[in-house]
């Protein structure tokens, strides 16, 4: 190497701290300042949706105290889970900069499949569910084929899918129009009343904090070993404790009523799994890369077509699963299932939660946060006895705000060099 000044400088300087232009923020204060810096430059993360949620809850709670009752919140969680799972699939396609407009139809079709196979044909329920999800995957691979091989824009492919799949749903429900799922069956119980045992909920609420702490400590020791700067133990402990505290309080509050729905547990589990896959695996890295710069990803040797295919297939399968869950929630598979606002709510949830419509930015938690916002609005307005006309208008407004925040943040990131 050239004998420049750096070689005479402190020998113990850390690998990633050798550039004197870099501000070194250490400890908890540093973490907080870093966060403020990020937000200022347009790297908003989940901040807008959290602020929005607090705002919405404050308004509804002041208009009707029942809104914040644990009974109502447990209902809210049941309602969130169905469309939330669909929104999680939307996060996948948005990550690669594509869209699936047919998730509503797919969910309706899946519920019709379960109803037909299980109730009418007498299949075991598990097999019927599997079949429905597999059909979802098949539809997704058809979209992938149209996109990859024929260059059909996903917008158009899934728009025709919306109609075609709705047609299939009506076709297989044809003679009966709607199928009632038997009350008291495991599937309907799962969608309507099964909740976690209180103690188990409390134990599960500790898990994220423990995992945070364990991985945090491991990261610190590995980075120190490699002569890299590491976050302070204090900030990690603080985050873990804060997370645990918040989760325990939520569980405690909801346990005053029925408790945490298993269906919501399933949804959150899927969100966490997706978060891991998107942030900590090669597949997730490739998804982000393809969404950011498709050609660069291709030149880096990534099989871009396979990544698109995985996004479409995953989205359709999650949409089908969401449809199964809503069938169990409603105890029926009807011609109305998956129509109306399901489609738009799922897409809106992902965007409101902070996944960018422009591709390459987003996270699994945006499905969770976004659907809670949307269901809170629906739930709050229902409590106020306001018609669905107002609900559509308000949800539309919130979606518009979310897209505006996304666009503005994107502009700010560009000017702050954080694209």
């Amino acid at each position: 190497m050239t004998g420049n000044v750096n070689d005479n400088a402190l020998p113990a300087v850390m690998l990633d701290r050798s550039d004197e232009r870099l501000k070194h923020e250490a400890g908890i204060g540093g973490a907080v300042r870093g966060f403020i810096d990020r937000v200022r430059s347009g790297d908003l993360g989940s901040l807008p949706v959290v602020v929005g949620l607090v705002l919405i809850w404050t308004v509804f709670a002041s208009l009707n105290p029942i809104f914040l009752s644990s009974n109502n919140l447990v209902n809210l969680l049941f309602d969130c889970s169905t469309v939330g799972v669909i929104a999680l699939g939307i996060v996948c396609v948005l990550m690669v900069g594509e869209i699936d407009l047919s998730v509503g139809s797919i969910s309706g079709f899946a519920s019709a499949i379960v109803g037909t196979l299980w109730v009418n044909q007498g299949w075991p329920v598990a097999l019927a569910i599997l079949a429905a999800v597999a059909v979802g995957g098949l539809i997704g691979s058809l979209y992938a084929l149209l996109y990859n091989r024929l260059g059909m824009p996903s917008f158009v492919a899934t728009l025709s899918g919306l109609l075609a799949v709705l047609g299939m749903q009506l076709y297989i429900l044809g003679s009966t129009g709607s199928i009632n799922l038997p009350y008291g069956s495991a599937m309907v119980n799962f969608g309507q009343m099964l909740v976690m045992p209180r103690l188990l909920a409390h134990v599960l609420a500790v898990v994220p904090g423990v995992v945070m702490l364990a991985t945090g400590i491991r990261t610190i020791s590995r980075r120190r070993e490699a002569n890299l700067s590491a976050p302070s133990l204090g900030s990690i402990v603080l985050r873990a404790v804060a997370t645990t505290l918040v989760l325990e309080i939520i569980v405690l509050y909801l346990n005053q009523d029925r408790g945490i729905p298993w269906m919501f547990g399933l949804f959150v589990g899927l969100v966490m799994l997706m978060n891991y896959a998107l942030t900590r695996t090669q597949w997730g890295r490739s998804m982000t890369a393809v969404g950011g710069n498709r050609e660069a990803a291709r030149r880096a040797g990534i099989n871009v077509r396979r990544i698109y295919a995985s996004a479409f297939v995953l989205c359709s399968m999650l949409a089908a699963l969401g449809g199964v869950l809503s069938a169990s929630r409603l105890a029926s598979a009807s011609q109305q299932a998956g129509t109306g606002d399901v489609n738009l709510n799922a897409i809106a949830a992902a965007v409101i939660g902070g996944t960018s419509l422009f591709g390459g930015r987003g996270n699994a938690y945006s499905a969770l946060l976004g659907i809670i916002v949307i269901q809170s609005i629906a739930n709050g307005l229902t409590l106020l006895d306001l018609s669905s006309s107002l609900r559509y208008m308000i949800t539309g407004g919130v979606l518009a705000i979310a897209v505006i925040v996304d666009s503005l943040a994107r502009r700010s990131r560009v000017s702050h060099g954080r694209a």
């Binding site: 660069a296 390459g360 930015r361």
Partner: protein, 273 residues
């Protein structure tokens, strides 16, 4: 840069050999009947005017474009590269003129893109350490490897792209104007690095518009003009010869200036007599 004699006769085995490579985009023939050889331990400079087809040739070798005609022989085997990953797997690493980085990913993620350590549980620490090693070899001036590419300067991005090409221990490196945006120290470091990888026995193809850089490191200079081979030169060729081959014109301002200087020199020498 001592043994200039040695450099005229590349001793290494043939790494890459192109015969009759053509590439057309619709009605435009970007490359016509190109022949090119690269030996192990040899730096071949590819020069030519804007639009001469240099980048197209590099992209053809990187698997980005498929040639319309001709054969590519890599380490004795005829190969067809259907996509960039095929070229990467063969051991051909490329720094593209447009860099081809993902702006939304950070430096480490870009360097390791498609080749992440531990695919099911990314080893961020090991990847970060390796990134710093590569970047320090290039005397990179990058404040942090945990910031997205979007916040780096043009030269810093170029350094990242070069670092990425070195990650896999390739057999052949293609550098499309690697020093175009670099500062003095970084250019020197890249030229040093080119010599180092040559000494390790790799083949290097370098595109540059800077004749000084080209002369400094190249063993052979291949000129392209309007998509065709237009002569092979050695670093001791005069500027006049090179410019003539690149532009295709014997008479232009560079040659005129050269001639004027030559004439003045003779005149002053004559005056002294």
């Amino acid at each position: 840069m001592t043994e200039t004699v040695d450099r005229k006769t590349p001793a290494g085995e043939m790494v890459l050999s192109l015969r009759g490579i053509s590439k057309s985009f619709g009605a435009v023939s970007a490359l016509t009947d190109i022949d090119l050889d690269v030996h192990a331990g040899e730096v071949v400079a590819l020069v030519g005017d804007n639009g001469a087809g240099k980048s197209t040739l590099v992209k053809t070798l990187a698997g980005v474009h498929q040639p319309t005609a001709g054969t590519i022989t890599f380490r004795g085997q005829p190969v067809t590269m259907t996509d960039p990953s095929a070229a990467l797997n063969l051991g051909i690493a490329t720094v593209f003129q447009d860099l081809a980085l993902c702006e939304n990913l950070d430096v480490v993620a870009n360097i390791f893109l498609g080749r992440e350590l531990k695919p099911m549980q990314l080893d961020e620490t090991a990847m970060e350490v390796r990134s710093w090693t590569l970047l320090n070899e290039l005397s990179a001036r990058i404040p942090s490897v945990r910031i997205p590419i979007a916040s780096l300067s043009g030269g810093q991005r170029q350094t990242v792209a070069i670092a990425r090409s070195l990650l896999l221990e390739p057999k052949l490196i293609l550098l499309d104007e690697p020093t175009a945006a670099l500062g003095v120290a970084q250019t020197a470091e890249v030229l040093n690095l080119i010599e180092r990888v040559r000494d390790r026995g790799l083949g290097v193809i370098m595109i540059s518009h800077n004749m000084e850089d080209v002369r400094a490191v190249a063993d052979r200079i291949v000129v392209l003009r309007l998509g065709r081979n237009n002569g092979v030169f050695y670093p001791d060729a005069t500027n006049q010869e090179l410019v003539g081959a690149i532009t295709g014109a014997v008479d232009n301002s560079v040659t005129r200036r050269e001639e004027r200087r030559h004439a003045e020199q003779q005149l002053s020498e004559g005056g002294q007599l």
